[in-house]
């Protein structure tokens, strides 16, 4: 090897070593940025990115448990809720005091400036503000006053410890956000995305809540009383009714229209403003079938009081019938508002795809008034959330009911207002219209009775308000409205009523469908010999009757409701949050967490 070659080789070796070290020895080689994810500064630049980010906002909308599985005073289940039993405790944390959705919303609002297209930006700002309004409306319903934030908080932000803003301040912000949303959201119909019409419907709902809450709780906050909100509710509802083009779903017959509205694989777009979409093959399903048909899961049943509130098919009141209290199941379910047979099993009931008639199953319904709303064909019966029919979140009938109620509470209701709203709802099922004069002339004593109705309703529209409430409760049952309604009407005390099911006159056989052969056998002591196919229930062991050997089926054998008027309309603030803020977050009235600051 000659000298020159050696030099070259040595140089090359040296050169490559230098190369290796310079390539890998500087700090830069340790700056590794992610290649499969984005950083916020490089995101939110166009419609697609804004949409993908806003998709997550929808998850704060209610699902199956809040919609179908509601159980307040009108539906009894395995267990009475802590709210009704009066056994709510002050939680350590969580329990509705969750703020992560708000953070995401404010993140979008902060970074949407990255999008140069002003129109697109406004549209997604509107989506974000719709959901911020939804978020705060939920907070106000639950806690009353809450702190307002319209920015992302840093971990050292002094605003982390901030006193609660008044519900007036929050609700005015909610209205502001909704007005923005109404202005900038698209005006086309979209079944699964929020639109201008969803924003109007939410405004109608939220303003009605706030207005009636203030009216019945006798609240004026920061100088603002109830009238402003009721006017907002009426106005938003009216705009919706006049401009949106949504109507009620009429179906093929008055005896199936109501049922089919909910037993529809895809929501009925003519009425449903916003639906939650379910599709089992995409992993989203709910348990409507198994919930109403399974033995261990919920065992829901309408209460006797709820069933009593359905009018007769001719519009007269069932509870005006003498002896209605002890009607047999066959008798009490005959000739009623057709929605009763489209809400629970009544004689002649068949599954959508069934040929056999079925009677209520006392194993799966704790009262005997077994719900069928949302129940689909038998192929969805399995225990693992097999149902995939869409669930309604906003629908036109609610806006109608909101409108009638807001106007009635304001005292500006007219018969024509009723005709274009409740009249339509009743017409769908073939019920006669609601007559305002008749209603006010003869308020229903059953609905005024503190044990069965709404004793706080007063004034010239007393009768019609009671009828609007009847209508609302029947129409919107199992859609998650009842608890909020009872709160804003300040009727929590009524929860302390009797929880009853079907009336059983005596031990022995009972015929649910009037076909002459018994369906259930109630007994005490030794198991009787009974034909196969007949369900035997041992009284005081497997089932309880209100009077011992006879009476109403009592779903809550040893549970009683207890309501504290001074405390229970709002939820407590979690203890940890009170400690972390050094008491700057005050506790709601009546909730004693023992903390002193």
């Amino acid at each position: 090897m000659n000298v020159k070659m050696k030099t070259i080789l040595r140089n090359r070796l040296f050169f490559s070593l230098v190369l290796i070290f310079s390539a890998i020895s500087c700090n830069d080689s340790l700056d590794v940025m992610p290649k499969d994810r984005m950083i916020p500064e490089n995101f939110f630049r166009n419609e697609s990115e804004l949409q993908m980010f806003s998709n997550k906002f929808y998850t704060q909308l209610p699902g199956e448990s809040a919609i179908i599985r509601e159980g307040v005073d009108h539906i009894a289940k395995n267990d009475m809720s802590d709210e009704l039993k009066g056994t709510r405790i002050i939680p350590g944390s969580g329990s509705g005091w969750s703020w992560s959705q708000l953070r995401d919303i404010n993140t979008l609002l902060e970074y949407s400036v990255n999008c140069p297209d002003r129109e697109v930006r406004n549209r997604y700002d509107a989506v974000a503000r719709f959901f911020r309004a939804y978020f705060y409306f939920e907070k106000v319903k639950r806690f009353g006053d809450v702190p307002w934030y319209d920015k992302q908080l840093a971990s050292n932000d002094p605003d982390l410890v901030k006193p609660r803003d008044s519900r007036e301040f929050i609700m005015s912000k909610v209205m502001e956000d909704l007005d923005f949303a109404i202005q900038y959201l698209p005006a086309g119909k979209e079944l699964y995305k929020v639109t201008k019409w969803t924003a109007l419907a939410l405004k109608s709902r939220a303003a009605l809540f706030e207005g009636t809450f203030r009216k019945y709780h006798n609240l004026t906050v920061d100088g603002v009383g109830y009238e402003y909100y009721l006017e907002q509710a009426a106005k938003a509802s009216e705009d919706f009714i006049n401009q949106s083009g949504y109507t009620l779903y009429k179906g093929t017959s008055t005896t199936t229209a109501y049922r089919d509205l909910f037993a529809s694989y895809d929501a009925r777009g003519e009425e449903i403003i916003l639906a939650r979409n379910y599709n089992k093959s995409l992993g989203q399903s709910h348990n409507a079938n198994f919930y109403t048909l399974g033995v261990t899961y919920g065992r829901p049943g309408l209460t006797k009081r709820m069933v009593n509130s359905y009018l007769m098919a001719d519009g007269s009141r069932f509870t005006d019938n003498p002896g209605y209290e002890t009607y047999s199941f066959v008798d009490e379910t005959a000739n009623r508002d057709p929605r009763l047979s489209q809400t629970i099993r009544t004689p002649g009931y068949k599954r959508l795809d069934g040929t056999n008639t079925l009677v209520p199953d006392l194993l799966t319904s704790s009262t005997g008034y077994q719900p069928i709303k949302f129940v689909m064909e038998t192929k969805y019966d399995g225990p693992n959330s097999e149902s995939e029919n869409d669930l309604p979140i906003f629908r036109t009938a609610e806006v109608y009911l909101n409108y009638a109620e807001a106007k009635a509470e304001l005292g500006t209701l007219t018969q024509s207002d009723l005709d274009r709203t409740i009249g339509q709802i009743r017409a769908r099922v073939g019920m006669p219209p609601l007559d305002m004069v008749d209603a006010n002339a003869d308020p229903d004593p059953y609905l005024l009775d503190p044990k069965t109705g709404y004793p706080h309703v007063q004034g010239q529209n007393q009768g019609v308000i009671l009828e609007i409430r009847r209508e609302r409760t029947i129409e919107l049952i199992m859609e998650g409205f009842r608890y909020d309604d009872m709160m804003r009407w300040k009727e929590g005390k009524t929860f302390e009523t009797d929880y009853h099911g079907v009336y059983i006159p005596e031990l022995g056989p009972y015929d649910f469908d009037g076909d002459g052969s018994p369906d259930v056998y109630f007994y005490k002591g030794a198991t009787p010999s009974i034909p196969s196919g007949v369900l035997a229930r041992e009284v005081d062991e497997e089932i309880f009757l209100s009077e011992g050997d006879y009476g109403y089926i009592s779903p809550y054998k040893n549970m009683t409701a207890k309501w504290n008027e001074e405390r229970d309309y709002l939820y407590p603030i979690p203890i940890d949050e009170r400690i972390l803020t050094g008491g700057v977050l005050t506790q709601n009235p009546g909730w004693d967490d023992g903390l002193e600051f």
Partner: protein, 1191 residues
């Protein structure tokens, strides 16, 4: 120090050890008449002959390299003639001998002899000389070799020699026990040589970070395992083989599945976050599970900071160094090791198979909650079950499936006695392990090549799951010249696991637990599957038994890994050495899950198809995960001795690594064929849509480090070591990225002190060690310092259409000052070797403070709206000790040496939280200052109520409703506490049973146990005699508590879910009834152990607290090495046959279940929460026969 020197040293130590033993043989041999020599290594034989020759002045010299790896056959001779012994000993080898002087013999290889003869023609002159020791005593039999040739001789009785060489030849003088030296002749004709005793030869050498070190000079806590300890073990998992071998090293197998990995931990709880040791294979970060046990030369475990600081920020919690075998100069040795094994469950599988009892018990537990029966069996049905209860197989007169009117039509009705476990699972499962290796080389190049194949069948009976592993390794070393070495190390691994069912084999052990009553049948008489029945409202095993049987459900996990290492060693001078290596590794993991629709029949002749849901839809999922790893190391070592007493070694180096991970996942639905699985087959759904889902993922990190070590010792007596590393990682922001990890240690060999002289003849070595060091821990997420937006599929909200929407979500906010977690280690140890090298003891005590752990972040009000950024806010202290005691000895018994050894290891540690942001010691936070990790808080139970009256009376005084959730919801008379229910003690006297909020206000709870393991121990006993060898290895944990979690059906059975498939035999005698008031389990009641903490069995209490302490016979091996003279005929060098068993016996008296393996319970251990649902793939005991052949 190169690998070759290391090997030579190890070998010499071995030779010397044997030499010492032979001394005793020889004395006996002289007294008796010589009759027999056992088969042994040729070196042993020659030394034996040298010993025998001592008495009449005969000696043999040899070149160790020629004899290495060769065996001397067993011979019988009735003579004291040295030449005859030699003739017979060398008979079958390629060696011969020459008689050099009267009574002195030199062993030569045939090859050397020839060249020797050739050279003699060219020889130029004769050199003579004498070899003496430092006391000027002549040394007899010293090997003298002309360097670079095979020309050599040995010294005679007077230490004299004579050899013909070139005039400028270099002579190499070597002698066992003395340091070899090289002397240039420089034309001289007489040379006097003085050899010095080689003190190093007495010492073992241990692999440490970036080098090797004499064990005697170690100042840190380092333990090592020799590869030979692993070669007898059955199976393939190195991690499971080293369990219990090293005190302080804890191995936690993740499941009993073939191919499952293990958790590895050194010295207990490292961090409340992640803290795994670093595993280095041949100098490069690697993985224990990918190494073939047969390839391992040695394993070192670096336990304290001083040993591991050289690896810096990845070594905060210890290092495991694996060195694989390398080539060796010499004749090629071929080795084959083959094993065949049979596995069985370690736990009982004897479940209730009588339909009557199964239905009865499930109905009972259900009824006592729900008020009605689980099944719809009528009284007549029960009669049918009763008359069949003893039919092990179906009796022709009493069929197990009958057709009866149910649901208003003909329905299958079952009255069976089904053994579901036997239906679903194999009770024995075969496995095999085959390994072949070649090893050899010349002066210029050497090589080691090995290949292994492993296959084990799993437990699933139909479409049996199977694990396969193929591995290959080729290592070569080239000597380019005197100063430059180049070596390569190539390895390849391929493994695959195929299994039936849906993705995740553990689903089988989850779904099978429910709704499989023995009274039901898996299949109808016409061969159709059973799913829904008219006998229960639920479907059998949620349909999983059908899924397991369905040939369309196949899954495969596979892995391909190729690793290439190239290393260049440059030794410019004797003192200086540079090494640089580069590694590239490609690792690809593939996952495939395929499922198809399933058919079943509920009514005769009516077949229904299940097409939807996670278990039944027609779907193919594939995932490919690719890792690319690059590593570069360069380091130099300088060794220097000054004035013969001051020994200095310095090392400096640089390391750079980068790894990328790329993920690709695809799912397609509605494939057109059930037996084929490829994305090209995606068809359409009922609406004509093609359904697919695709996603990816990419991660990357880079690290860089500068490291150094300085060792100094004075005369081998006073030892000092400093080491450190300056580390940077891409996982932190620029300004927090770099950290320095320094350590220092010192040792004092007391036994070398003058005052120790008198004890030296029985106490050979005593050394004290101390070390201290700080290490950073970079085990955090790849991009934890950034706030990222990820695109993902929205899984909980749809907007119509046929696809899930895309959702962009933003990660939680981060803090700027996130930084390293630090581990500060203190270690003190003592090493003792005594009783003539037979007993050795190593003991260490240590404290490790882990500081600035990422604790719970400072609690922020919930309005913050995200999980608060985590802060470096928590400290932990772990303290413990370790002992390793070993004894080796041998005796002459009935004509052969009986060699035996016992090794015991023991260690213990406890961990405390020393700092945590929880001033109120609230239970709402995970930890609090002063907490001992693993604490179990629970209630005290005063027994079971003897009667309803007692229950009513007690609960009227003490409100138990907090823990009686299910009881109060139960139907009818069961709706209140009754006889056989638990009596909870009111510890705080407030008449209400409820948990407290903090340590200071614990309510009715107190610390009832601890879930962290204590007192780890292991013991190995081995003995060999007349070719037989026997070893037993026991391992265990002395103390550990476990409260069975809610829904642990293997423990709670029907208390968790009142429709259990597996009911222990005779369970009906184990629960409380009025007739059985002393039962262990309470009143039968379903759901009381299902979830939450408010049910009487989910409320943690002392009555059902289990002890997981166990003692396990991990391994038992019996081997026989065939006599050498038999081997001659078949030209084999060594043949060993062996039988070995793994996990043969387990003793765990504190665990009140025969159906749970104590090791299986804690596999998902998260500190302070050491439990899971014990529904893993079952653990196996494995019986193996093996053969090991070398030629």
């Amino acid at each position: 120090m190169t690998k070759m020197t290391l090997k030579t040293l190890i070998r010499n130590v071995l030779v010397l050890f044997l030499f010492q033993q032979i001394g005793t043989v020889a004395i006996n041999a002289n007294v008796q008449s010589i009759t027999a020599f056992p088969a042994e290594s040729l070196v042993e034989r020659i030394e034996r002959l040298n010993e025998l020759g001592k008495s009449d002045g005969q000696s043999i010299s040899y070149n160790m390299k020629d004899l290495n790896g060769k065996y001397a056959p067993m011979i019988e001779v009735e003579t004291n003639n040295m030449e005859e012994w030699l003739n017979k000993s060398l008979a079958d080898s390629d060696l011969t001998y020459e008689k050099k002087e009267e009574n002195h013999y030199l062993i030569l290889s045939e090859v050397s002899k020839t060249t020797n003869e050739v050279r003699e023609i060219k020889q130029q002159s004769v050199v003579t000389g004498v070899v003496v020791d430092i006391n000027n005593e002549p040394l007899i039999g010293v090997n003298i070799l002309e360097k670079g040739t095979a020309n050599g001789t040995i010294t005679d009785y007077d230490g004299r020699f004579s050899l013909s060489t070139d005039a400028d030849a270099t002579l190499v003088f070597s002698y066992i026990g003395f340091e070899s030296i090289e002397i240039r002749r420089n034309g001289r004709n007489f040379i006097e040589v003085r050899l010095e005793e080689d003190s190093e030869m007495l010492e073992e050498v241990v692999v440490v970070g970036y080098g090797v070190q004499k064990k005697v000079n170690l100042t840190g806590a380092v333990a090592s395992i020799d590869g030979s300890e692993l070669s007898d073990r059955a199976g393939y998992s190195v991690s499971q083989m080293i369990q219990g071998k090293v005190p302080g090293l804890t191995i936690t197998p993740s499941s009993g599945r073939p191919g499952a990995g293990s958790g590895i931990n050194i010295r207990g709880v490292n961090s409340i976050n992640k803290g795994d040791p670093l595993v280095i294979v041949d100098g490069i970060e690697g993985d224990l599970e990918t190494i073939n046990a047969n390839d391992i030369e040695s394993i070192s475990v670096l336990k304290d900071a001083s040993a591991s600081a050289i690896y810096g920020a990845r070594a905060a919690f210890g290092v495991i160094l694996i060195t694989t075998k390398a080539g060796e100069k010499g004749k090629t040795e071929v080795r084959y090791n083959g094993q065949f094994g049979w596995g069985k469950n370690t736990t009982s599988t004897d479940y209730e198979t009588r339909g009557y009892y199964s239905a009865y018990l499930n109905d009972l537990f259900w009824r006592n909650y729900a008020g009605n029966n689980y099944t719809t069996y009528t009284e007549q049905d029960y009669d049918e079950l009763w008359i069949r209860r003893n039919d092990k197989v179906e009796h022709p007169d009493r069929p197990w499936t009958v057709i009866d009117q149910r649901d208003g039509r003909d329905s299958y009705t079952y009255y069976a006695n089904t053994d579901w476990y036997g239906y679903l699972y194999n009770r024995t499962r075969p496995s095999t392990n085959q390994n072949v290796s070649l090893r050899g080389g010349t002066d210029a190049a050497s090589y080691f090549v090995s290949a292994g194949f492993h296959q084990s069948d799993g437990i699933l009976k139909t479409n049996t799951d199977r694990f396969k592993k193929i591995d290959f390794r080729a290592k070569t070393d080239f000597k380019i010249n005197d100063k430059l070495d180049f070596s390569t190390n190539v390895s390849y691994l391929n493994n695959s696991y195929t299994y039936p069912g849906i993705g995740g084999v553990n689903n089988a052990f989850t779904y099978d637990k429910v709704h499989g009553l023995a009274s039901m049948q898996p299949e109808n008489p016409d061969g159709t599957m059973v799913y829904a029945t008219s006998l229960s409202r639920y479907v059998i095993m949620d349909g999983y038994q059908m899924v397991l049987k369905n040939p369309g459900n196949t899954n495969r996990d596979k892995r391909d890994q190729t690793s290439l290492i190239g290393e260049l060693t440059y030794k410019p001078t004797k003192e200086l050495q540079f090494k640089t290596n580069f590694n590239y590794r490609y690792n690809s993991q593939g996952f495939m899950n395929r499922q198809t629709n399933v058919e079943y029949s509920k009514y005769p002749g009516v077949i229904e198809t299940l097409t939807t849901g996670a278990r039944f839809e027609n779907k193919l999922y594939e995932r490919v995960n690719t890792h690319n790893y690059y590593a570069f190391n360069a380091f130099g070592t300088y060794t220097k001795s000054l004035q013969e007493k001051h020994n200095l070694q310095g090392m400096l180096g640089y390391n750079w690594e980068r790894q990328t991970y790329k993920d690709l996942k695809a799912t397609g639905w509605n494939l057109t064929d059930d037996s084929l699985s490829d994305m090209n087959l995606i068809g359409q759904d009922a609406d004509g849509n093609k359904l697919t889902d695709v996603s990816g993922g990419y991660n990357e990190f880079a690290i860089m480090g500068f490291f150094g070590r300085l060792n100094y010792d004075y005369d081998g007596k006073y030892l000092l070591e400093f080491s450190g590393r300056y580390d940077g990682t891409s996982r932190f922001r620029r300004d927090n990225r770099w950290a320095f990890s320094p350590s220092a240690s010192a040792g004092w060999r007391i036994s070398d002190e003058a005052f120790f002289e008198s004890a030296k003849n029985w106490l050979e070595d005593v050394k004290l060690r101390l070390s201290y060091g700080t290490l950073g821990n970079q085990q955090v997420g790849y991009y934890d310092h950034l706030r990222l937006i990820s695109m993902g599929t929205q899984n909980n909200y749809l907007f119509g259409g046929d696809n899930r929407p895309v959702q962009a979500s933003i990660g939680a906010p981060t803090t700027a000052d996130l930084t390293w977690e630090k581990a500060i280690h203190y270690n003190a140890g003592i090493d003792i070797v005594t009783l003539r090298n037979r007993l050795s003891l190593t003991a260490d005590v240590y404290i490790r403070d882990t500081k600035d752990m990422l604790g719970e972040s400072v609690a922020l009000p919930a309005v913050y709206g995200a999980s608060a950024p985590r802060a470096n806010s928590a400290d932990l202290r772990t303290q413990g000790y370790e002992l390793n005691l070993s004894w080796r000895d041998s005796y002459e018994v009935l004509g052969d040496r009986l060699t035996y050894g016992v090794t015991l290891t023991f260690n213990d540690y406890i961990s405390f939280i020393t700092k945590y942001d929880n001033p109120d010691k609230s239970f709402a936070k995970k930890h609090y200052e002063g907490k001992r990790l693993g604490e179990i808080w629970g209630y005290r139970v005063g027994g079971l109520f003897a009667s309803d009256a007692e229950a009513t009376e007690y609960t009227s005084r003490v409100d138990q409703s907090y823990v009686n959730e299910i009881i109060l919801q139960s139907a009818g008379p069961e709706g209140k506490p009754r006889g056989g229910d638990l009596m909870f003690l009111d510890l705080d006297g407030d008449n209400i049973i409820r948990p407290g909020t903090s340590v200071n206000n614990p309510g009715d709870q107190e610390i009832i146990g601890n879930s962290e393991p204590r007192y780890h121990y292991g013991g190995t006993f081995n003995v060999s005699w007349y070719g037989f060898d026997f070893s037993a290895f026991l391992q265990g944990v002395g103390k550990r508590d476990w409260y069975p979690e809610p829904n642990t059906m293997a423990f709670w059975h029907m208390y968790a879910r009142p429709y259990a498939t597996y009911i222990p035999k005779n369970f009906h005698t184990q629960y409380w009834t009025e007739e059985n008031p002393d039962a262990y389990f309470p009143r039968p009641r379903g759901y009381t152990a299902l979830q939450g903490e408010r049910r009487q069995l989910t409320a943690v209490n002392d009555r059902y607290l289990q002890s997981l302490a166990y003692l396990r016979l991990k391994n038992l091996t019996l081997g026989y090495t065939l006599p050498k003279n038999w081997m001659k005929a078949v030209k084999l060098e060594n043949v060993r046959l062996y039988l070995t068993g793994e996990n043969l016996l387990t003793w765990s008296p504190g665990l009140k279940s025969d159906y749970i393996d104590p090791e299986s319970v804690v596999t998902n251990s998260i500190y302070g929460d050491a439990s899971n649902l014990a529904r893993n793939y079952p653990w196996s005991k494995v019986y193996t026969v093996g053969i090991d052949i070398r030629f």
